[in-house]
C-alpha cells in the first residue's frame, strides 16, 4: 500500500486539530502514504473555515473540541460553501450524539482518534470515492442504534439564521452579515420553515421569541 498504485491519485488533506502533538503524530504516520498530501494544518475552528475556503482540500480531518468554534459547526459552514470537500470528523468523542450531529452538519465520516492511522487512511479513501466511513466501534454502535435522521432539529447554522431573520433582517442582509450567497440563505430559510412547519415570518418570530432565541 505504500507504493504508488496504478491509478494513483493524490488526495489533498487538511488537518484541523487543536493539539499540535496529535497533528505531528498523524502527519508522521500519514507521510508514509504517498497518495495523501497534507496541504495545511490549523488548530482553530474559525481559522479552519478561512483556510479551507482558500485551500479547497479534497478531505478535511476535523477535530470536534476546539477553542473558538467546535468542529461540527465548522463542518457545517465548510460543507455549505465547498460542495467538493469531504469532512471526516476525527475525535475522541465516541458518543452517537456526536456522530449524528456531525452527519447532520454534513460530515462524510467519523473516526475515533485512537483507531490508528491505517483506519484514517481507509476513511480518507472511502469519503473521496463518495462513501461514508465510520470507525469499527462506531459502526458497531450504529448497528444497535441506527442513526435516526433528525429531520426536525435545526442545525447551529440554521438557528443563527433564524435568529437573524426573527430580528427582522432580510435574506439579503443575512447573506451580507454571514458572507454567504443570497441563495444559500434562501435555502436555509426554506429548510427552517419546513423543519419548524411554519409559514410566515410572524410565526418564525413568535417561535424564536417563545424559545428564548431572540429579544422580544
Amino acid at each position: 500500500m505504500l507504493n504508488a498504485t496504478d491509478q494513483m491519485q493524490v488526495t489533498t488533506l487538511f488537518l484541523v486539530d487543536d493539539h499540535p502533538m496529535v497533528q505531528d503524530g498523524l502527519t508522521a504516520c500519514l507521510s508514509y502514504y504517498q497518495d495523501i498530501d497534507i496541504i495545511g494544518t490549523t488548530q482553530d475552528g474559525k481559522d479552519a473555515i478561512n483556510q479551507a475556503l482558500s485551500l479547497k482540500p479534497d478531505v478535511i480531518l476535523m477535530d470536534i473540541s476546539m477553542p473558538s468554534m467546535n468542529g461540527i459547526d465548522a463542518t457545517e459552514i465548510i460543507t455549505e460553501q465547498l460542495t467538493n470537500t469531504k469532512v471526516i470528523i476525527f475525535s475522541m468523542h465516541d458518543s452517537l450524539e456526536f456522530v449524528s450531529s456531525a452527519m447532520q452538519a454534513g460530515a462524510s465520516g467519523y473516526i475515533l482518534k485512537d483507531t490508528g492511522s491505517a483506519e484514517v487512511y481507509l476513511a480518507i479513501k472511502a469519503v473521496v470515492s463518495g462513501k461514508t466511513h465510520f470507525s469499527p466501534s462506531i459502526e458497531k454502535a450504529l448497528i444497535d442504534n441506527p442513526l435516526k435522521e433528525e429531520k426536525e432539529k435545526l442545525t447551529t447554522r440554521e438557528q443563527v439564521i433564524l435568529a437573524y431573520i426573527a430580528q427582522g433582517q432580510s435574506n439579503k442582509a443575512v447573506a451580507k452579515i454571514l458572507n454567504i450567497s443570497f441563495r444559500t440563505v434562501e435555502a436555509h430559510r426554506r429548510n427552517i420553515k419546513a423543519k419548524l412547519q411554519l409559514d410566515s415570518l410572524a410565526e418564525l418570530i413568535r417561535y424564536a421569541v417563545n424559545h428564548g432565541l431572540i429579544d422580544s
Binding site: V22, N84, F98, L154, L178, V209, S216
Partner: protein
Amino acid sequence: MILPLRLFYITVLQVILTSIVIYFFVTSEYRELSNHNLQALETFLIKQKKQELQNYTSLASASIKHLYPKAEPENEEKKQAIEKLLNELLYNGDDGYFFAYDGQGINIAHPKEPQRVGASWWHLESDKGEKIIQRLIHNAKAGGGFLHYQWRKPSNQQESSKMSYSTYLKQWQWMLGTGVYLDDVNQQLAVLQQKIDQHINKTKQIILTIALSSIFIIFIFGLAINLSHKKKADKKINELGQKIIDLQEEQHRHVSRELHDGIVQILVSIKYSIEATAIFLMQSNQEKPKPLTDAEKNLNVAIQEVRRISHHLHPRVLDELGLSAAIASLANEFSKQTKIRISLNKPKLSKLLPADINTSLYRVVQESLINIEKHAQASHIAIDLSIENKRLTLKITDNGIGFNRNIKNKSSVPEESIGIGLRNLTERIEYHCGQLKVVTSKKGTSIIAIIPSHVFAYYFNESAQQGDYLDTERDKTLLQDT
C-alpha cells in the same frame, strides 16, 4: 436567631412589669382619692342630715309653740293635742316622724309605733347595750344632741341605722325628737363605692388589654423580623451553596477538559508516534517488537481510563452539543446498562442554555435516573424536554412504584419524603428562578423542572453575536463556489 428571641423575652417581661406597676400605682392612687372623696361626701351628707333634723325639730317646736308656753304640765287636753299634732307631723314619706318621751322614759307620742305610748322605755337597750331612751333624754337635757342607734324603719320594717336629734321641752319635762334613717346615705355611698370599684376594674381591663396587645404586637413584630431574617439567611445560604456547586461543576468541567483535551491528546500523539515507529520498522523489514505492541495496548487502556474519568467528571457532549444531545447520550448509556427503555422527546432548537443551567438540568436527569434504577422498579422512562410558552420544561416520568407507598393519592409529595438529592436539585433549579415538582403515585413518578425562558433568553443570540457560531470577518472574495 438566639439573640432576637432573648430580646423578645426581655421586652415582654418589661411590658408585663410596667403594666403591673402602673396598675398598682394607678388603682391605689385612685382608690385613695375616691376614699377621701367618699369620706368628705359622707361627712357632708351627715352634716346635711343633722342640719335637716335640727330644722325639722325647730319646725316641730315652733308648730307646738302656740300650745307650749301656756301649757301646764298636767294639762291632759293640751298633751293630747300635742300628741295628735305630732302624730300628724310626718315627713319623708313614712320614715320621717317625731317622738316624745317624758323625763322617766314613758312614751308620750310615737306615730309609727302607737303601742309604745304610755309605757316606760327607760331601760330600752340597743344591741350594743346602749340605753337609747336614756341617752336621747340626756342629749335633750344637754340642750339638744345627736344619737346614732339601730331602729326599725317603718317603710320596710327592717333594723336600720338611725340618727336622731332630741330636744327638751323644759315646762313639761318632755324630750321631743326626730330621726333619719341613714341607710339611704349608706346606699348612696355604697353605689359610689361600687362605681369606684367599677372604675378600678375598668382601668385594670384597659391596662391588661394594652399590655396584652403590646405583647401581641411585639410578638408579631418579632416573628416578622425573625422570619424575614431567616428568609434572608436561608436565601444567602442557598445562594452560597449554589455558588459552591457552580464552582465545583466549573472545576469538574475544567479538569474534565484538561484530561480530555490535554492528557488524552498527548496519549493519542504518543500512540501515533509508536505507530509511526512500527511503520518505519516495517519499511525496513523488521519485526514489530513485542514491547512496542504492549506499549500500544497499555496506551489504549490508559486512554480509555482517562476518558472514563473525564466523562464521569463532566460530560463533554453537554458543552459541545447542548443539553438535548447530552441527555440523549446519558439515556443511551443508561438503557444499555439497566435494560430500562427510555423514550426521549427533544426540542428542535439546541444550545439555548448557558453552561450552569445546562449542567443543573443534566444533573436533574442523572439523579432521577439513578433514583429510578435504585427504587422505582420501572420498565419504561419518558424524558420530555420542551420549550413552550416562554418556559423550558424538563419532565422525567417513569412507570415504577412511586417512591412513597404510604401516599395513596396522586399528590405532591411532602418535602421530607424527598431524598436529599432531590432537595438539592430543587434548590439548584430554584437558584435559576425555576421550580422542581415531584408527582408520585403507585403508577409512577414524574419529576418536572421548569425554567422561565427569560433566564436563558438571548444566551444563544449573544453568544452568536460574540462570534461563537459566526464568522463575520471572512473575506467575501473567498465565497465563489456556492
